[in-house]
Amino acid sequence: MTALLDVLLAAAVLVAAVATLLAPRAGSGVLLFLVLGLLLVLVWARLGAPDVALAEAAIASGATGALLVSAVTGRRPPAEPDRARRSWAALLPLGAAAAAGALLGGVLVRARRDGAGPGRLGDLAREADGVVSHPVTTVLLDLRALDTLLEIAVLTAAVLAALALHRDGTLAAVALPADTRPVLRGFVHLAVPLVLLLVGWFLVAGSSRPGGAFQAGALLAGAALLLALTGRRDLVPTGRWLPPAVVVGLAGFLALAGGTRLLAGTWLALAPPWGAAAVLALEAVLVVAIGAGLAALVLAARPDRRVAAPTPPADAAPAPDRQAPR
């Protein structure tokens, strides 16, 4: 019986993916992508990966969905609608890609069957006495802490690159029309405290069950956006305090790395007595950084307000070296 469900789910994901790729208008493409995201949450749950399911729902469908929808709503429709569906020019490469994908899948399946041996990484990770009890968080913040540090650096770099396109590196100049409809204001008064409670719960739960800093950060970004778009911009750091809020996660991780090197002698070595507390502190800082970062990415898509003289939006030199200074 479950085999039938799996095939159905796989077929649904495939159809959703093809529909997302071949949607005539970008707007419907985005909405179909959200449907694909929700189906993927089911797939992760079916494959026994609750952490990835949570992250898919909170980040890949939530944050990416917010980014895509805000990009679509503020966009002039492109000059010629991309009649992708009818023209064979689009279907042929997709057909070839599907065939190549099936071949690649075959190689993957055979490799897995040949490679299946004892002492897989997962079993080792489960037995390793990491600092926290939940194996995925142990892998993320203890066994492979350097990967997570570099990944936080990627997120920080992406946000800094996005902010670099705005006047003096912050979002202070971005126009945010306050949507003060009473229904929305009432919703915000109810939802934001609840979301903040969930953020705290995810943060603490991360060390013992699926959850953790990334999912909590995405929720915090959602709450921050709700506040920013309904007139309570003062509560959300978009001006002078935005760059520090974005880099605080990376700074915290680097401080932890340096600290463990000086105290425990090895970079990123988390010993049991203080390890769990260090992980929790680090995750708290990561939540703030990911929340501020994702919210900044959504808001950074909006243009700066034009000052009197229409200076170019990016405050970099207008052209590479059109006129070298004296």
Partner: protein, 484 residues
Amino acid sequence: MADLLLLPVLLPLAGAVATAVLPWRRTVGLTVAAAQLGFAVAAVVAVLRDGPLRGSPGGWEPPLGIALRLDGLGAAVGLLAAVVVLAVLGHAVARPAAAGGPSAWPLTLVTVAGLQAVLVSGDLFTTYVALELMTVGAVGLVALGGRRALAPALRYLCVAVLGSFAFLVAVALVHARTGTLTLELAAGALPPGPALGTVLALATVGLGVKAVLAPLHAWLPDAHAAAPTTVSPLLSALVVKGSLVVLVRLWSALGGHAGLAVVLAVLGSGAVLWGGVLALRQDRLKRLVAYSTVAQVGYLVLLLPLALPALDPAAPDGARTGALLAWEGALLLLLAHGLAKAALFLAAGTLVGVAGGDRVADLAGTATRAPMVVLTFGVAGACLAGLPPSLGFTGKWRMLEGAVTSGAWWAVAVLLVGGLLTASATARVLGVALRPDPDPAAARRGVPAGARWPALTLAVLAVGTGVGSAWLVDLLLVGAVPAG
């Protein structure tokens, strides 16, 4: 031991955090660059003295933890990166307009950290994350070039991330087949077969996109034409090198693949010839230099087919020595290209500023106005073309020797014609620059000293290291599979 591996990665990240928040961007940036040079020299000495450096952060030994490994090639490219970044930041301090604004500092340091993480990572997934870090930093830097640079930056981001996904599937395949993510442990455990072929094909496509391998290079010339002056050297001399280093390491660790080697031989030769011809026909200076990067990457990819016999122990001795020579020559060329191309781009950016236009025709008379910058351009061009006594010549000569002993005559032809094309492209620019000044009376903007010396030092280094390059060859062989 892990200090020398992790400090060069974590310090630039700390520098990026500091420059993103604090106002003293120049002092922090320059001190971090100087420290990176110190670490690079220390790492080279350590690698020469007692072989590849190993370490595992968090105290978790591989296969569970992350394996860090710095071999000779990694230490050499690390030294190259430190020298180029110091010169580029010196140039940026002297001509702020060429740097693309205050946000260039944190993004440059992030890109440097990404490259250093790629060099020290012995774990395939950490390599993937490090490549992404380098890509995001580089895209941010290109986008600083103003309105014309946004579309190329977006194109580069989409294509590079797609390449990373291909590399990630290759990593997943290696993990599925060998049960480990550490390259050294996976090396012996992946038998030749469809899995190995797919891993190498996916990795070659994925990394080929980022390393500007011929048919996948479309994004580079546009990105260079619009990027600020100080970004182009980082892009061509460093970001491209990072992907090449990973490709060389993957090929040599997993044993290479005969069929794919033929494809790469064809693509590499095509890149050398086609890139050279296109470089000749460009009328914009920066695009000319960008296409010469595509040509030079063609040389470096020829390393994989030429060095294939060195990877399998069953090959006859004649082929093995030839392959070893080709391996050393190509890696010397990789270093020479890094130094010379950085000098070329810095000089080109300054010349565009002095001439007031980025077309080659606008350069008329710049020899009189900025003699040292044109001299730098000439010296760097000579090194790229492989004229003695430069490092490029030593590398190309060794590659020619290797090709001759292993009987790859097509490679000899490609190497010679490629050198000719690069030399003629440089000569064309010098010819225009040496023309008499069309309007000598017009007011001229002088070139600040800080913009002249960094590029010239890079060019002189490119020539100087060619003379006594024995230590460099020994360094490149440390921990390399063909030598083992």
